[in-house]
Symmetry: D2
Subunit: 385 residues, 4 copies
């Protein structure tokens, strides 16, 4: 119930009009996130497993299915923003109804049912947490296109004062065991745990900051093809990118960043954010370094001298999102959760300011296409040694 | 105030979420229509002419400008649906503020000011009426894409029982005087009044009905290229059109129409509606007839034996939207009202069920691109004689 | 045979590689023009009418059909440039074979057959002349995209020295009879001859020259939205147009024009060419004038004081390409020749340097979409008086 | 000279018109391949290193640069097919001129110059071999769009009669050393050699055949989303794929394949070819197996019981094209050869019927985007054990 309540809390500052916004096909309205994360419990847990459960509204099984082919057809993704009906009030009622049914179901579940569904319920909660981050990510994008520059939160926190020492931390390489272990929750894409051979490497102790990234811009970073991957350079030309998403520039000089607090003064010491993979890789090239592989990142994740591994920005790695050896998707509809996206995407590691507390872990594999800029994504440098 | 109040009344059945919907770049949210029709009075009348008038919000001059280059830049049309802010409540306040200021301005206006602005105020009211129709047109399109099939009005009127006799009414042709005359209001595109030479022609006394149009479908109308203009046939192939917009078919058999009353049983005797020009022209070809020119239509407009000239569906003509001889746009910003759109569009005549009372007249020239289907547009046949 | 031979002569300077070029979907390879103009005689005359005629190659009926739905399916227009086979040598053989068959057919035709086909053969010759102009127009476009800037003709004619006096020539208006008359050839779109009421107007005695058009550019013509039709201004923004097609500029200063003679020094006194309708209309607006209607143009066409009516550049009119009153397309496949294109296009009058001798006449209606720039198209001013 | 001569031999069956064809932006004309592979020697070897070398034509440095940003701007890739000039005769002269200069350069080179350029010359030869395969690949695509179905080679070889036993060959896994070793040539992307940990796996001894793949089609493979990666399923829907590229079907039944021999009877025992990665992965899923990783493939490459590893079809792997640990691109312009493409692509291993003799090796990494179908690409199954 804490996880479920957090979604409600996130929507508190929003009007019904705000909650209906869809600013691009990749993003979804807040209302849709609130309904879809509820749909997951209904469609995956209650509908197939709760005896006598009556679906809230048959049509909503269609409206709020995201991409589960095995659970039937679905409303076209680019048209999620056209659903003024159901209203947000109906969605609140949907949430309450499903919550109630879920609690009753848990109370009544015998061991057999519990064995069959406990993992699904747990998955549903982690799924909802993912949508909590996406709700903020997507809302920020929509608000950024409004000339009134609305703020999601009225009061911004004071700028980061803490400036941990930036240095290189060396790791000896060798065999590393990668992937989830232990009894806690993990997504299927973090498994199976397996051994990977690493060579000696170093990670930067701190995230790349806005100031560091602005040096790259001032040095012509967005005008020098030799720094970019080929697809990245083509995208720079096509889209005219000159800075991270949400930055306002005066020439090459950063002025402000649009954020959940509205337009904010540019903070040189904050981690650079809203980069895509191409930008992260070009910066690393310019800096004479490289991005870490996801394995290097994970092997080092818990080292106490590394700052900002979690809770600041997701960190692009130099690893394509491929399946781990002997990976098998989960059985049933939830087998579509991760496996079918394992092509054309890049792994990000860590977590961000928008990630719900308790959601992240060292083995967590986030992934987005290399051109995606609207996530809370930054980078940390690596190098061989 | 009656015109202004009608806009408010039209919005009464809508939620804030409904009023934010933009279903395609050509359509606008209800909220935007309500704000833009108010902006017109502010930007064209009060701001330049009312001494001491303080603009409601400088940023709204940008947000709610539609296409007036001479009044400055504007929010991109395809992004009107992303304006969750300002809220509809703020727009209501905007309307009240401008109404009050306008009434005060009228009360205070001396003869000089009145001479300069009375025509602008009148234009603003007719402008608002145009947006009242568009509000309904655009809303219907947005609702049609919602699988829940929302109804704007709960109770539909009973199907038309009246079936006027369908026959051909002949006109002798000769010189016809075309364009607005008299002291009433007209848009600049209805002027100057001028003489046109017509040849003998006949008009069908009734509009083409759903039943008649369904015969065209059943006869393979959408599969026979010889009936279509070249661009129309290409569009049929590209979009897979098989019936008017909003019809549901079972094979070639019409089942229902989506309307402001939600999905309604198909009514054979109602005028066919939501056709584009290509469909209207193909139907006429199939029927061994043609579309009337806008001049033939206007010359006959007030004949008492013609049914449905006004108030049912706009009627596509066989006339491109070209300027009348010696046409000059109005001076100032309002010169952009009509003249700059005089290419690539087709004239429609009459008015529709969605046109506000008192808005239409015989010389009125409505216009849309030939592929547009979301207007309340149908047709009446003509032939030579 | 003179018409047929002219096509061959036009291809003389071209290599087989040149003759295969298709630079955009709207343009066709020279080889295709040579084959299609032959196909017309085979598909429209010989195949249906010549007893015992054996088709050259059944597959070519498909390959070289342009847009005749009633003559069967056809090779997709954008893929005409992919036909390396048949080779140009095979096309030459095709031409010779059809020429021979056509001459035999004419020799053998009795009165009945001749009555049925003489008009088709005549149409085929005028059709071929249209493709002779298109061959040059399309080739120029293809060559313009080659960085080597190939010249179709080695030696350019000397620049025009003649500078006829530029003045306004007034016409009284009144009833004008428009459309083809007499026993000569005309396309169906020039008929029926009919009466149009004109108001007093004046035409400029000379075409707009490069120098005059460069004044428009220097005066910010491409940066002033108030001069443009709305669609035209949008196209200027989208495509970044700054001058007529094929001009090279240094800032606002014209340097050279690409032409069939390769890159040539810019000639101030030559008629401006390779404008689209939007540019022509914007220039006229800037010049405080307007474009003539096609009827004004035709009514004045043979006046001896008007220079450049024929043989220099096609002249954009302010008339959409609508059917004349009581227009009926020809019977059979050739009914698709003109009528089905009567929407979305603008009429041009006159003829150009690329028009074959004897092809043009006062009633001739050329037509292209308003955005087309690759034709030999310019303008002449008109005004009310 | 043998490598250089092979390019000439490949072009022998082609007309100048054939050699100019570009059927899509991803493909290039034969003439362009012949010129570009020559340009490589001129731009990378002779121009910077040969004292007194005079460039053949300065403009060709622009025309025939493919993607080397550090060697200056280049002709837009989608417009390569518009270069009717230079003619193929001029390209033959270009080849002869550069060949001569290169031989002179090698004769005259002292040890210092040789040390600096021998590797570049060797790279140029392997580069030319890659374009030899692409020449055939691209030509096949262009010919496939010609309704005359031209054949590149008149006489097809007899269908494969040999049917090696299909079985699973097991490998124990463990540490495998991956990447090029020895003194022979390799591209930089095959380095550095490094150790990878493999788990026990099996490979199918034979390639997937046309018959096997047709069973997948007959079992509804192209209609079952559960078999596909998400991007793959979306592409199937968008493009309407129902079979490998170049297959003709009657319902689900294969009839013929278009090939370099023209349309050929479908050969059930031939390896399936012209699949993209999505199709290969969906087939493997359907077959209850998976694609091998590129490391599994390489570790097994020389096992004598594996059939068709080389010389039949490139084999899609389940490995994204990421850099090897400590990979560094070569210095200078040739650093752009491979490294900048290491995102968004999938590794293929082996070689095909179109690969020049002597070009392939076990460590060779070919790569294409996952949607590419026009390569000679098939698959071999793997599974865990």
């Amino acid at each position: 119930m804490a996880v479920r309540a957090h979604s409600v809390a996130l929507a508190a500052p929003l009007s019904p009009e705000d909650m209906g916004l869809q600013s691009m096909p990749d993003a979804s309205p807040s209302k849709w996130h609130l309904a879809h994360s509820t749909w997951f419990f209904e469609a995956v847990v209650l509908h197939p497993h709760a005896p006598g459960y009556r679906v809230f509204d048959e049509r909503w099984l269609y409206l709020f299915n995201s991409y589960y082919e095995s659970l039937g057809p679905r409303h076209p993704r680019p048209q999620r923003g056209l659903l003024s009906r159901p209203s947000i009030d109906e969605v609140w009622r949907y949430r309450a109804t499903v919550d109630k049914a879920l609690l009753d179901f848990i109370d009544d579940a015998d061991a057999t049912i519990w064995d069959a569904t406990a993992a699904l319920i747990e998955l549903g909660l982690h799924h909802e947490q993912q949508h909590q981050e996406l709700l903020l990510t997507d809302l920020l994008h929509a608000f950024s296109l409004n000339p009134l520059q609305p703020a999601y939160c009225a009061a911004a926190p004071p700028p980061t004062r803490e400036k941990p020492a930036a240095s290189w931390l060396e790791f000896p390489g060798g065999d590393a065991t990668i992937g989830h272990f232990g009894s806690g929750f993990a997504f299927d894409n973090e498994t199976p745990r397996h051994c990977v051979r690493l060579q000696p490497y170093a990670l930067r102790t701190t995230l790349v900051s806005n100031r560091e990234y602005s040096d790259f811009i001032a040095d012509g970073g967005y005008r020098r093809p030799e720094l970019w991957l080929s697809d990245g350079w083509a995208a720079v030309q096509t889209h005219g990118w000159q800075a991270p998403l949400y930055w306002s520039l005066d020439g090459d000089q950063p002025l402000s960043c649009f954020s959940l607090y509205g337009a904010q003064a540019w903070q040189p010491d904050a981690p650079v954010c809203h980069l895509n993979f191409y930008e992260a890789a070009a910066y690393a090239e310019w800096a004479g370094a490289r991005l870490p592989t996801e394995f290097e990142w994970e092997a080092a994740a818990t080292h106490p001298d590394l700052h900002g591994m979690f809770g600041a920005v997701w960190q692009w790695t130099r690893s394509s999102y491929d399946p781990y050896p002997r990976f098998r998707p989960l059985a049933g509809a939830i087998g579509e959760y991760n496996g079918k996206f394992m092509v054309g995407q890049i792994v990000l590691r860590g977590s961000s300011v928008a990630t719900p507390a308790g959601h992240a872990r060292a083995s967590y594999r986030n992934f987005f296409p290399p051109a995606a800029r609207w996530q809370f994504s930054g980078l940390r440098l690596a190098r061989d040694c």
